[in-house]
């Protein structure tokens, strides 16, 4: 019997046909734009287009890193991602464990619903919250300070505090979503395990330490791997809506994605901007492949693909 692709095509032609629309769209909207990555090596001019512009060697990369911008946005992206990974997953794990231990059904369902709510609103609205709390003239915080007879503070001129603000809002937005994942793996634990532990006289902390935490270990590892694979990708929507176009804060809050977007808006040196995205895409891909390769060697069942 022939096993070639032609045989398969003939046998399953209807199935292949059903894949055509999605496949074509993926090619047009995701694969073809990848060719634009070569702009990173070109002196891009709008009139000449992607393929007509002249080659420029590695100049774009040199500009990007010699100006210091490249290092700064890379450092910010990586540090923010690490900070957000630890805080948001940490909070979600604590929340999931506590919620799982709650005994009052109504309270449990109600709080779970409320904690999940921030996932459903757009970052535009979150940006409104941030501005309502921190803005100098009418912000909640400054109103409170004024009432207490203290000096008003202009948070928007204090770069140092923004990592905290960003990581708090990130954790806030995702705590519900992530805790659902952990609650699902906790509820997968056999109830008999807990009963046996109770009979053996394990206290609540021993219960959590020896049963719950090992049970969510695989999920924690998967979540960390997924996030590490995105370590060079900044959450554009979050940074852009929380920080906005605020020049005073760029040093402390600019990630690769916001930098790229701003340059795209102002059309300032598109080649250099493209160099930043090229370097981001390629490095990100390399990191995912490497991490996945290592995980496959050590604990194959945790590999992402």
């Amino acid at each position: 019997m022939k096993q070639g692709i032609l045989y398969e095509l003939k046998k399953n032609k209807a199935l292949f046909a059903m894949l055509i629309p999605f496949t074509l769209m993926i090619i047009v909207f995701n694969y073809l734009p990848m060719s634009g990555l070569i702009i990173a090596f070109k002196n891009y001019r709008f009139d000449l287009g992607v393929f007509g512009s002249h080659w420029h060697g590695l100049e774009n990369f040199r500009y990007l890193f010699s100006s210091g911008t490249g290092w700064n946005i890379t450092k910010n992206t990586v540090l923010y991602n690490l900070l957000n990974l630890v805080t948001s997953q940490g909070l979600a794990i604590v929340a999931a464990i506590l919620i799982s231990e709650l005994t009052n059904r109504v309270f449990k369902r109600l709080t779970q619903s409320v904690i999940f709510l921030p996932y459903f609103i757009s970052w535009v609205i979150v940006g409104t919250f941030v501005f309502n709390i921190f803005n100098y003239e009418t912000g909640l915080m400054n109103n409170l300070l004024a009432k207490l007879g203290m000096e008003k503070v202009n948070i928007y001129a204090m770069p140092g505090i923004w990592p905290v603000i960003i990581c708090v809002f990130n954790a806030w937005k995702w705590v519900g979503y992530n805790s659902i994942i952990y609650i699902a793996s906790i509820s997968g634990v056999d109830a008999e395990c807990y009963e046996a532990a109770d009979i053996d006289g394990a206290n609540i902390f021993q219960r959590i330490w020896h049963i719950t935490l090992p049970a969510i270990r695989p999920t924690v590892i998967t979540m960390i791997l997924l996030q590490v694979g995105r370590i060079l990708r900044g959450d554009f929507e979050m940074f852009y809506q929380i920080v906005g176009n605020n020049g005073q804060l760029y040093d402390a809050t600019d990630v690769i994605d916001t930098y790229v977007f701003r340059s795209l808006l102002t059309n300032a040196n598109l080649g250099m901007t493209a160099a930043a995205t090229f370097y981001q895409s390629v490095l990100c891909f390399a990191i995912i492949m490497l991490v996945n390769f290592i995980v496959k060697k050590i604990e194959p069942e945790y590999a992402l693909f």
């Binding site: 209807a14 059903m18 769209m25 634009g36 109600l110 999940f116 459903f120 409104t128 003239e137």
Partner: protein, 305 residues
């Protein structure tokens, strides 16, 4: 009583004490976390019913001091713009969700077929786009220059349909349908398309509801694509219109403070909040009814497709 049994009983009493303390703490912590998730929404809604003077001089509060519909009256005095943005948002969300859902389900069905030899090849072909992409610059240039998507609603609709994560979740849903059903339909002489429409789709209701809701939420909250691709104001979806309004307000306020006009005459905080409520309202209204589908989707998605 045997000494060991006595010790165990003692343990249990001590444990039940530590259990009580822990439980109490869980209720307090989860309760506080829920409040933190809820308060911004409450202040948002309360602020939108508060008069501008009160916001300016006393700040936001959980309940409006003097209930007023001032802000909503302004919002609906010129309803044309808002109704138009609503129309755009609804149109984009409905078309995108329906077509996207159909493509998603059809593709996921083929990928789930164990007798389809190239299922892994295609799965990886799609999955690869989540590992590597052209980045913001090349995608943007490609979309406007070669696909002609500038200022087109298609730019808001098409890219959102290609979410591979949703595709993998849907594949997990399809896999719960027993293959024997497909086999027996085949023996009865049904074609692939017929099997998909008559057998798979009706059995896939909860998968369709789940992914459909994820898609709808994504479209409703999207402002990023509008910011990149849409120029004409009459094509702004709601979220972007809100964003543009906030930006305008900030710009006006900063100009006003430079030239020394009193800020009272500018678009107000309450107006902004009322717009935010109008934008988020539909989500909050349906939230209690659709929440369970999101929980299901997240749970399935975390079990790795």
């Amino acid at each position: 009583m045997q000494p060991a049994a006595r010790a165990r009983a003692g343990n249990r009493i001590r444990n039940s004490a530590s259990r009580k303390v822990f439980n109490g703490l869980s209720y307090v912590i989860i309760g506080l976390l829920s409040l933190l998730c809820l308060i911004p929404f409450v202040t948002l809604i309360s602020g939108s019913f508060t008069s501008e003077q009160v916001i300016r001089f006393e700040g936001y509060s959980l309940f409006p001091k003097e209930f007023t519909l001032e802000a909503y009256e302004i919002v609906f005095k010129n309803p044309q713009k808002i109704l138009n943005a609503y129309g755009i948002s609804i149109f984009v969300a409905v078309t995108g969700t329906f077509i996207g859902l159909f493509l998603n389900a059809m593709t996921a069905y083929v990928l789930s077929r164990q007798d389809f030899k190239y299922r892994n090849f295609f799965s990886f072909f799609y999955y690869f786009t989540t590992l590597f992409n052209g980045g913001m610059v090349s995608t943007y240039i490609f979309y406007i220059r070669y696909l002609n998507l500038k200022d087109s609603l298609l730019a808001l609709i098409l890219p959102g349909m290609l979410n591979v994560f949703y595709l993998l979740i849907m594949r997990s849903f399809v896999k719960t349908i027993p293959p024997a059903l497909i086999e027996s339909a085949k023996i009865d002489g049904a074609g692939e398309l017929r099997i998909f429409f008559k057998i798979i789709l009706p059995l896939l209701k909860s998968g369709l509801a789940t992914i459909g809701l994820f898609l709808a939420l994504h479209y409703w909250n999207d402002w990023y694509n509008a910011m990149l691709y849409i120029d004409s104001e009459n094509k702004y979806p709601l979220q972007y219109m809100l964003y543009a309004m906030i930006q305008q307000q900030k710009a006006l306020a900063s100009i006003a403070s430079q030239v020394g006009i009193r800020v009272e005459n500018l678009p107000t905080n309450a107006l902004k909040l009322a717009m935010a409520v109008v934008t988020t309202g539909p989500i909050i209204l349906v939230y209690p009814f659709v929440q369970k589908y999101f929980v299901k989707g997240i749970t399935i998605g975390s079990v790795k497709g």
